[in-house]
């Protein structure tokens, strides 16, 4: 390392002599079967990476088609029924097959055992099973698409879904039902692992915040997903036998469906965003060389979000004639759940203070996350506020808010995490300049796509419209233009990350000089992770410990 202080923390081994370790989890065994039957959490993580990327691009293709259709006020690209199938598929795929499993399935699977100093997750077979279950769900979703599509919207609203559509509702409902089991299995696995598999010295408050976030998200997966399962079973039964549990003509209550559905689907958004927050904590700490400001507050705010997240579902139903008093309670709880997120944002911002900050690609994605998530979170307050919700709900404002949180938040965090741990997963660095370009492109494209939608929403344009009044065209054109830029922003990483597999610089075990246990072993790690179970004898994010350790290594080697 040169003595002059550079503008990057990345320190790579001498490229002329550096080599990947001889044996690591990728080349430990060969052949398709060694992948399909693997119980290694790292290999399963890669399986997840391939599959979520696959589904992301399918879901993204539908997003592109939707934006293309909305370029003009008339439904001239596709007819209304096709458009309805597009947004339903976009929603189902992006939510259940991408956002929910993306960070837990890829980064969580890969990193949780490494971060707590374990050889694997508690139940490796269940872990593999969860991937198969996920693939079965995904295949069934694609089957619903190929057979002719489904047009319920991702919300399966009754009685529309049960009695008024003749598309493949049951296939889609079963696909989501099955995918749910994958998420339950992952959740159980993470919770047990975090409780029982921590290495000696790894107390709860020495756990990286990534783990706290995954722990909170797993609680939601375990407690929320079964209710979605019940709901979907009831929808399928009602559709098959015409029982009437959600049909007012037969004495059923369609609002019961709304309650049951949102009891899962609201916490589900926290399942999608909490793991992302975990990623942000790791990256910000590493790139500013500092312990996270107010570690305890950030850790507990994850758990608080998970707890409060279970008691706000009715805010999706404020205009549906629920009792005003329950609306008051749920609106208040919604305001409360916004606070822990605000705490996190400020704690991350103040982590930067007096740090030693560098601006590698993951950090740029983190900054993007902080800006977009702040907007997404604050516009959520609009919707949680009872009177404002009346005008804004079911419009493009909701669409914009949701995408700011889920795409601006969740997806940005996923990309930050993929770039950050790419050297650990593959042993090679991604190319820095072009990836920075991708991060900036994504940020610009995103804002251009979704900021106009806030305006559209306040103008009152309802969502899920294949055709719209002509005065809304200008904003829709802007949004479609932004989506094009955004599409390029997402294509770039796909290309250069694949390129880096062969041509990327050899990363060495700890390119970021990060403190996590995962960085103290070879990249890519060996199959058994640790030759000896490590002992956590220092606090988390302890950069002095790392400096001492590096110094010692240098002196013993030199």
């Amino acid at each position: 390392m040169s003595t002059a202080v550079g503008n990057t923390i990345v320190s790579l081994p001498d490229q002329s002599t550096a080599q990947l370790p001889k044996r690591h989890y990728i080349n430990n065994e060969y052949g398709l079967l060694s992948w399909l039957l693997t119980e290694d959490h790292k290999r399963i993580a890669l399986l997840y990476l391939f599959s979520v990327t696959f589904f992301f691009f399918i879901g993204g293709a539908f997003a592109g088609l939707i934006r293309l259709e909305l370029l003009t006020p008339q439904p001239d690209l596709v007819a209304a029924d096709t458009y309805n199938k597009f947004f339903t598929m976009h929603g189902l795929i992006m939510i259940f097959l991408f956002l929910v499993p993306s960070i837990p399935g890829v980064l969580g699977n890969f990193l949780i055992p490494l971060m707590i100093g374990a050889r694997d997750l508690a139940f490796p077979k269940l872990n593999l099973l969860s991937w198969y279950v996920y693939m079965a769900g995904g295949t069934l979703t694609l089957a619903a698409l190929v057979l002719g599509g489904v047009d319920t919207g991702w919300t399966f609203t009754t009685p529309l879904s049960t009695h008024y559509l003749n598309t493949h509702v049951i296939t889609a409902a079963m696909a989501i039902f099955i995918t749910g089991f994958s998420s339950i299995l992952t959740g159980i696995n993470f919770i047990v692992t975090i409780h029982r598999m921590r290495c000696p010295g790894m107390t709860w408050f020495r756990m990286p915040l990534f783990l706290w976030a995954h722990y909170a998200a797993s609680l939601l997966m375990v407690l929320g997903t079964p209710v979605l399962a019940t709901t979907l079973v009831l929808v399928a039964l009602e559709r098959l036998f015409g029982i009437g549990i959600f049909d007012p003509a037969k004495g059923g209550d369609p609002l019961l469906f709304q309650h049951l559905f949102w009891f899962y689907s609201h916490p589900a958004v926290y399942i999608m965003i909490l793991p992302g927050m975990g990623v942000i904590s790791e990256v910000i700490s590493t790139c500013s060389r500092k312990r996270i400001f107010g570690y305890t507050a950030v850790a507990f705010s994850s758990v608080a979000i998970a707890l409060f997240g279970f008691f706000v579902w009715e805010h999706h139903m404020f205009i549906m004639g629920v009792s005003s008093y329950s609306a008051l309670v749920f609106s208040l709880l919604t305001m409360l759940v916004a606070v822990p997120s605000a705490i996190k944002i400020f704690n991350w911002a103040f982590t930067l203070q007096k740090g030693s900050i560098t601006f590698e690609t993951p950090m740029l994605y983190c900054f993007g996350f902080m800006g977009l998530f702040t907007i997404g979170g604050l516009t959520g307050v609009f919707l949680g506020s009872l009177g404002m919700d009346i005008h804004l709900t079911e419009t493009y404002f909701v669409v914009a808010h949701f995408h700011f949180v889920m795409v601006g938040g969740g997806l940005m965090a996923f990309l930050a995490g993929i770039h950050f741990w790419w050297p650990k997963m593959t042993g090679r660095m991604y190319p820095e300049t072009i990836s920075k370009l991708a991060a900036v492109t994504t940020f610009i494209g995103f804002n251009l796509t979704f900021l106009p939608q806030f305006v559209l929403g306040y103008l009152g344009l309802p969502r899920r419209y294949a055709a719209y009044p002509p005065e809304f065209q200008v904003l829709n054109v802007l949004s479609t233009a932004g989506a094009t830029v955004l599409g390029f922003g997402y294509m770039l990483p796909m290309l250069y990350l694949v390129w880096s597999l062969k041509y990327g610089a050899i990363a060495g075990s700890n390119p970021w000089q990060a403190t996590g246990l995962e960085w103290q072993i070879a990249s890519p790690p060996p199959t058994e992770n640790f030759a000896e179970i490590p002992i956590m004898d220092h606090e988390v994010y302890d950069y002095e410990w790392l400096a001492n350790k590096t110094k010692k290594e240098v002196t013993t080697v030199g």
């Binding site: 503008n7 560098t358 307050v381 009177g387 899920r464 719209y468």
Partner: protein
């Protein structure tokens, strides 16, 4: 510039027709907008604050300027500050929003009532005077209008952005919303809850007219029969009058003046008779038996359309005496058909 004049004209036209802010056309709109501007300011302030913090810290503590980080555990004071201040702001928003919610959903007592039936994929408005409209609604300026809405099939949502009102239209139960228009003009009516294939076609226009124009419109658009008159026919043809006729021997309770009164049911509950109660009692009579009467009324579930139910409800609402009911009964008993009741008039208009 080599921009062709046609394209230029198109662009100008296109941008000129674009809107960025909805019209404020109801008494509620200014209140909603006030909260909206507050929230927008809050968002701009919050986002700017975060952006400034990130940019300033990034510039001041970049690796070149600050090669060594100073470790900080945290600060209870700072953390409490950014817990309490957002919480306080959110609570203000909460109270403000709750007040607005009650303003939007609690109708004034002098509101005139119009019925709305939503079905795939159209809005049907029924004025008490019998004027029917499809995908359109004419209302007078400066007069509170309450809409009693129901869906015949799936969930719909009645949304008028320029009035800042919206309410879900649900199958099987009435929901209400009210507004008072403040500007003459035509305003978009949207169905904002996804309701199937032609969801985006379930749109219409609200026309706000001066009271004089509205009066003229009412007179010109009448179908000749008010809702209550339709209801009266139904009342006779469904045989309601054989029990609910106010005579001493009647097997059902007297319905004259029942609307708005408090009833005691057989199970001891006290019920205020409103539109929803009347509708429910017709469809699920056994759960709504007035004290002192036997549960002998059959259900009319499946025999009456939502329009028919509205006619009946409107008739019972306006029924001040049983005179006409008994007249119908006498006529029917004497073997003649009831006056002004063509035999085919069974609920469908």
């Amino acid at each position: 510039m080599g921009l062709s004049p046609v394209l230029w004209q198109f662009l100008v036209n296109w941008l000129h027709n674009a809107t960025l802010f909805p019209a404020e056309a109801s008494t509620i709109a200014p209140y909603t907008d006030a909260l909206y501007f507050f929230l927008v300011l809050m968002t701009i302030f919050g986002t700017t604050l975060v952006a400034v913090l990130v940019v300033v810290f990034s510039a001041r503590y970049s690796r070149q300027r600050s090669p060594v980080a100073t470790q900080i555990e945290g600060s209870t004071l700072l953390e409490t500050t950014w817990t309490i201040i957002p919480l306080a702001i959110f609570l203000v928003v909460y109270v403000w929003g709750a007040l607005l919610y009650f303003r939007i959903y609690n109708p004034p007592t002098n509101a005139m009532n119009i019925y709305i039936v939503g079905k795939q994929w159209m809005w049907k408005a029924e004025h008490p005077g019998g004027q029917h409209e499809i995908d359109a609604l004419h209302v007078p300026l400066g007069q509170p209008v309450q809409l009693t809405m129901i869906s015949q099939d799936v969930f719909h949502s009645f949304s008028v952005p320029d009035f800042r009102i919206k309410r879900e239209v649900i199958p099987g139960r009435y929901s209400t919303v009210w507004f008072e228009a403040t500007k003459v003009g035509r305003y978009h009516l949207f169905c904002s809850q996804y309701c199937g294939t032609q969801h985006s076609g379930m749109v219409g226009w609200i026309t706000v007219m001066t009271p004089e124009d509205y009066k003229t419109w009412l007179e010109q658009s009448t179908s000749g029969q008010s809702l209550a008159q339709n209801g009266e026919r139904l009342y006779a043809s469904m045989g309601c009058n054989s029990c609910h006729n106010g005579t001493a021997a009647a097997r059902g309770p007297d319905l004259a003046g029942v609307y708005g009164s408090k009833l005691t049911l057989t199970d001891g509950r006290q019920i205020l008779v409103d539109d929803a109660y009347l509708r429910d009692a017709i469809l699920n009579p056994s759960a709504h038996v007035t004290a002192g009467y036997a549960a002998i009324m059959p259900t009319y579930q499946g025999q009456l359309s939502e329009d028919g139910l509205i006619d009946l409800v409107e008739f019972i609402k306006n029924m001040q005496s049983d005179y006409r009911v008994q007249q119908t009964l006498v006529t029917a008993a004497s073997g003649e058909s009831a006056p002004t009741t063509p035999p085919q008039a069974a609920g469908e208009r």
